[in-house]
């Protein structure tokens, strides 16, 4: 490789490699060492933000696999996260250890996701979107009204998770757990995309009829996409439930589904890196707006009364602006920036 002025693939294996360059490996390594050290120099509040980002990354990567890569629009992702949260929470309350409870929560969610994925064989595009919307609303109703299981609108209180007797009761300890799971999910989805399955998903998204005619079993692959995506959504929900230690049905309403869809759109559809960008952006957005409102509060004293109403609106506005002006998301911008610096200071 030494002495070459660019990245030239001479075999398929080379093209499918996980780390394309040594530099990428090295810089990612440095990034992770920096991440692992964050609890040393960040405050608890900042760590809690990082935890929320990690949890959001899991959910966003999962949704991007289903919607971005396989093209199956899901408006029920928030409810699937809720199923995972309740299943994991209930198992923990029944005395299960944390990790089996988390995995079981994921499996239950995968099952629920597959049930609601069954109509995807016949339905596509907006019909599927509406079917998953119905799934979202029906599951929300179940969370709210199956009081003997979910506690209804009162919610469920949970303990901090413990792994092999080590209680993860602080943000810093929780951070290592969420980071591990997030890295694992990102690796899982990235690797799925490099296999036959990933290529089949993309083929279904791009043109389902040609996909079927070259031998992709639509039903099976769509269901697999639903299963993997919901499994990760369930894991994300389980972590969330144990991190906040309290879950209520309102957390998992349609707004959550919209937030996750916004993440993958703002980040970049069909790109794992994009889901991470989107998760970071959408999680930090309310904090950024809050800081802005506090700063503006010095000049306009009654802005905080409008702030609550404005927050959702600004979120929607950003979503609309992204769709109009940057439809390929942040990841596209990131690639442009990288391409610019690659040859800096020479333009060509």
């Amino acid at each position: 490789m030494r002495g070459k002025c660019g990245l030239f693939h001479t075999s398929y294996a080379q093209e499918a490699r996980f780390f394309q360059t040594g530099f990428l490996k090295f810089s990612l390594g440095l990034f992770f060492i920096a991440l692992l050290c964050t609890p040393l120099y960040l405050s608890n509040y900042q760590l809690s933000m990082l935890n929320m980002i990690n949890i959001a990354v899991i959910g966003a990567v999962a949704l991007n696999l289903l919607t971005g890569c396989c093209g199956q629009i899901s408006l029920g992702h928030g409810a699937f996260i809720g199923v995972g949260a309740y299943a994991t929470g209930l198992c923990s309350l029944a005395g299960w250890p944390f990790i089996p409870a988390l995995l079981f929560g994921g499996l239950v969610t995968a099952l629920v996701g597959m049930i609601f994925g069954v109509p995807s064989l016949r339905l596509k595009g907006i019909y599927l979107a509406i079917a998953t919307l119905a799934a979202q609303l029906i599951l929300s109703y179940v969370f709210m009204h199956w009081e003997s299981m979910t506690g209804g609108s009162v919610g469920l209180g949970l303990d901090a998770p413990a792994i092999c007797g080590l209680a993860l009761d602080s943000d810093a300890k929780m951070f290592y757990l969420t980071l591990t799971v997030a890295v694992f999910s990102v690796l899982l989805v990235s690797n799925i995309l490099r296999t036959r399955h990933g290529r089949a998903f993309v083929a279904i998204r791009d043109f389902h009829q040609s996909a079927e005619s070259v031998g992709v079993n639509l039903f099976s692959y769509k269901l697999q996409a639903f299963a993997v995506s919901s499994f990760l959504a369930g894991i994300s929900g389980g972590l969330w439930a144990h991190y906040t230690m309290y879950i209520t049905p309102e957390q998992f309403d349609i707004l959550l589904s919209i937030r996750y869809l916004a993440m993958i759109i703002i980040g970049g559809m069909g790109s794992v890196l994009g889901s991470i960008f989107g998760a970071v952006f959408v999680t930090l957005l309310p904090e950024g707006l809050g800081a802005l409102a506090q700063w503006a509060g010095a000049f306009f004293p009654n802005i905080s009364t409008y702030f609550l109403a404005m927050r959702e609106g600004i979120f929607g506005l950003i979503l609309v602006l992204f769709l109009i002006f940057e439809p390929e998301g942040l990841v596209h911008r990131w690639r442009l920036i990288k391409a610019y610096w690659k040859l800096y200071p020479f333009a060509y």
Binding site: L123, A129, L137, I138, H145, G316
Partner: protein
Amino acid sequence: MEYYLQLFVNGLVVGSIYSLVALGFVIIYKATKVVNFAQGEMVMVGAYVCFGLTVQLGLPFLVSFFMTLAFSVILGLSVERLVLRPLIGEPIISVIMVTVGLSTVLKSVVQMLWGTSIRVYPQILPAEPVWIAGVPVAPVYIAAFVLAALLFTVFSLFFKYSRIGIAMRATALDQQAAQSMGIGVKNIFALSWCIAAIVSSIGGIILGNINGINAQLGHLGLKVFPAVILGGLDSLLGAALGGLIIGVLENVFDGAMQQLFSLAGFKEVAAYIVLVVILMIKPYGLFGTEEIERV
């Protein structure tokens, strides 16, 4: 029995409003193939604008009614021009999400201007109930039903006989062919958003007269989906019937569940359960165009 009859009548009234909102949805979908998740918020904006003109500015109801319609035209035009037109040719998910974003923007604007508490319209029709088939019915309910039926007749005639209506149907059928016959497809898109906004506003004003309005009114937009799926996404008649049927089913199911199993709040999901069942057995609804694909 009278209990169910009462539920049935209530269902018809609620259903006629669903039909109106569904009518707006179907007009947009037919002409532009855009699934509008902001339909409920358009209802809400119309209702609040009329409320603001009537109560806060003290204009006579009829004046503010027509001013609201004028406002709806502007709203529909600007939404189409600013938000939807840049997205022509983008994937479905982008179009869906842009209307979702639009709905949160409209909602937050309403919340900023009018707050979240329930606002009540002044009484326009007399409060004493009229007795129909042994069931007391408020005059405003009858007015709502009649107005909805009237609008449907007007729009059916409009689409069947007027030049513009025929152009709209042609665009819905085949955009390229319509364009080559000299129909301005962009104008048709704009017009369909205008009509949808007007119809939604009327629905909102009727609702305001029945129940009062609050910032949660936008949820009505989600109830449109069962109605249009039942009727068929691109059928006006389907929207009318679908809305009525969903309204009635929802009320009767809710009442039955309350009476038989004392299960509260079933109303929220009854329509969606119906929706899932329809999608499973007859996804293109009662009158929708079937898309047949073979490999």
